[in-house]
Symmetry: C2
Subunit: 363 residues, 2 copies
């Protein structure tokens, strides 16, 4: 091992498409190693290992989720199961003493997430959700700009938009269109990122209320395919977002303060793995005759040696390592952020259900 | 004269700041010439001519608006007066047979604009509002992309944001914060552009209803400093916009269809006079492991020899010329677009006044 301590040994519960990306990320993170892939179908686990170029001698194929959780060689599990299965398996993982990297949306509602977080606390395991872009170094660089009160000033407006045009196979078969699997649909999937980006921009200050935008589109089974909301804070900050499975691939985030503004066009998944950009302007003004800007916003490029999902695994593993190897305690930072995201998501959903009436967000 | 016909002879009513930019534009447009600057104060008109490097032998300083309107050497007037004075002077201009280039917002409400348009029709004069970016060649190029049903598909979502951080002098003294001068405040100023951009993106199909976003900020006199709205169409298209005098300079426009999406960061006034860019992506997708885009959106740059405001004057003058020199009729294209913009603006204002209740937009 190149690292001084033993890497965190990961198991994966379920062979979801997204697990392929995270399996690679576990391989890339210097302090993590994949040791087990669990599926209800042993052949499927074997195929996942073979199809993704994993070393069959090092990664065990396991024919049940339970067996992964009882495997003493597994420190932590990544859970990319459909949202409706999160509560069951995330709680089971915590109860088995496995640290938990849980795919988003973390749960069907905040009450369910609270059960998961409570189990993690009781069993001393680390929790983190799978919101990868949080771990891109661009995100930290953008935070520097937003935290600079001289350059950015007071936050006023946030707008976030994540949509992608799902194909007919997705719209018929993906778990995210099925009420029994991912009942939150586009709100739980694309909307999770929008809400997170808004909370991130507001430095995790919870808005006071959510008012869904009219125009929600549901599929025949009643699952949200497209929706949006406004969010309001006590001090007058306002955010809007739009999330959709039926608009072309779009990932815009705009954050506007009194002195500066920031814009990103690929906030969830950067155009390229190794570098990501954003534009920021501060104290921009027009030229004398108002025929141009003086100066225009600047483009900033942040490079990274590891892709954001590997940095996520690395950060999670660092936290797990300090518990496993140094008798540390679970870090509360990520659970708190996940919970706020889920609370806002709940409020947006409630507002949609109530005909776009305002819904208070209570911590 | 370089052109085959005599250029259109312009008078300006009032020495507003924006008139400096348009005076230069009239000078740049090959088919227009500035012949008169009218102010209620003759010295102010003289100073305007001197301060802006205009030829005092060619441009007459005139001490009243009436005298400009009765000047037989004036074909057309540009009216940058406060909005509350538009109805009076725009109607007077039309009744004097002067073609009318009217600054935005065109009127305090659509009923008032209708009186202006009716006077223009009765007197056979051309009407156009002063929305300069409509005339940038970038706008036509973006239209090509949006009109391409293969590359763009069906329009789904529009978001437009125009804010600038007004300084304390503006917030105390500018006509746009005074209820007796520009009662529409940020909605009439920045919001006009947002609404126009949304209508433009929707190829001028009027939305069915407006629902203002909660969080409107008024100054002490009750004039809107910051507001936003959602707009909804019968077919499910949804737009949102935000306009403000209290956020850093921001001019974002995003237009998302089923197959493509377009983004501009300087839609009202391009960063530079001579060229303007936008990004467009069509059928963009993620790479196999969803770790990047394949391909990313493309950046398109459109150059122009004349700034957009000169192209606006040129287009207006072309229409005026065909009436003056070829017995043509006023072109209805721009009045119709102005009226739709004003109708939507009225509905947003009504929704704000009604506590953000939905307001129907009726043509």
């Amino acid at each position: 091992m190149a690292t001084t301590t033993n890497p965190i040994q990961f198991g994966i519960l379920g062979c979801a498409e997204i697990a392929r990306k995270v399996a690679r990320a576990i391989g890339l993170a210097p302090n993590a190693v994949l040791v087990a892939v669990g599926s209800r179908n042993l052949d499927k686990a074997r195929r996942f290992i073979a199809d993704n170029g994993l070393d069959a001698a090092a990664v065990r194929a396991i024919g049940s989720y339970e067996a992964v959780l009882s495997d003493p060689g597994v420190d932590a599990v990544y859970v990319p199961l459909p949202t409706s299965l999160h509560a069951r398996w995330a709680v089971a993982a915590a109860e088995s003493g496995k640290h938990l990297l849980l795919e988003k949306p973390t749960a069907l509602c905040a009450a369910e997430l609270d059960r998961i977080l409570s189990a993690c606390r009781s069993h001393g395991v680390q929790f983190m959700d799978g919101t990868m872009w949080m771990h891109n170094p661009r995100t930290a660089k953008m935070r520097e700009y937003l935290s600079d009160s001289a350059r950015f000033g007071q936050l006023k407006t946030i707008h976030s938009h994540f949509s992608f045009a799902a194909d007919s196979d997705f719209l018929q078969n993906d778990i995210r269109v099925k009420p029994d699997l991912d009942a939150l649909g586009a709100l739980g999937d694309a909307g999770w990122y929008c809400i997170r980006s808004i909370l991130w921009a507001a430095d995790y200050e919870l808005p006071k209320k959510a008012i869904a935008l009219q125009g929600t589109v549901n599929n025949k089974a009643g699952v949200i395919m497209s929706c949006g909301s406004s969010l309001l804070w006590e001090d007058g900050k306002v955010a809007t977002f739009k999330c959709s499975f039926i608009g072309h691939l779009t990932m815009e985030l705009s954050v506007v303060g009194t002195n500066g503004s920031l814009h990103v066009s690929d906030f969830v998944i950067p155009f390229e793995e190794g570098k990501a950009s954003f534009s920021f302007g501060s104290d921009l003004a027009f030229n004398e005759l108002v025929t141009g800007w003086q100066p225009p916003p600047s483009k900033h490029i942040v490079t990274t040696d590891l892709p954001q999902e590997a940095l996520m695994v690395q950060e999670f593993s660092r936290m797990v390592g300090s518990i496993r190897d140094s008798a540390g305690k679970p870090d509360d930072k990520w659970p708190v952020i996940s919970r706020k995201t889920q609370l806002v998501l709940d409020a947006v959903r409630a507002s949609i259900d109530q005909g776009c009436e305002p819904v208070e967000i209570v911590e």
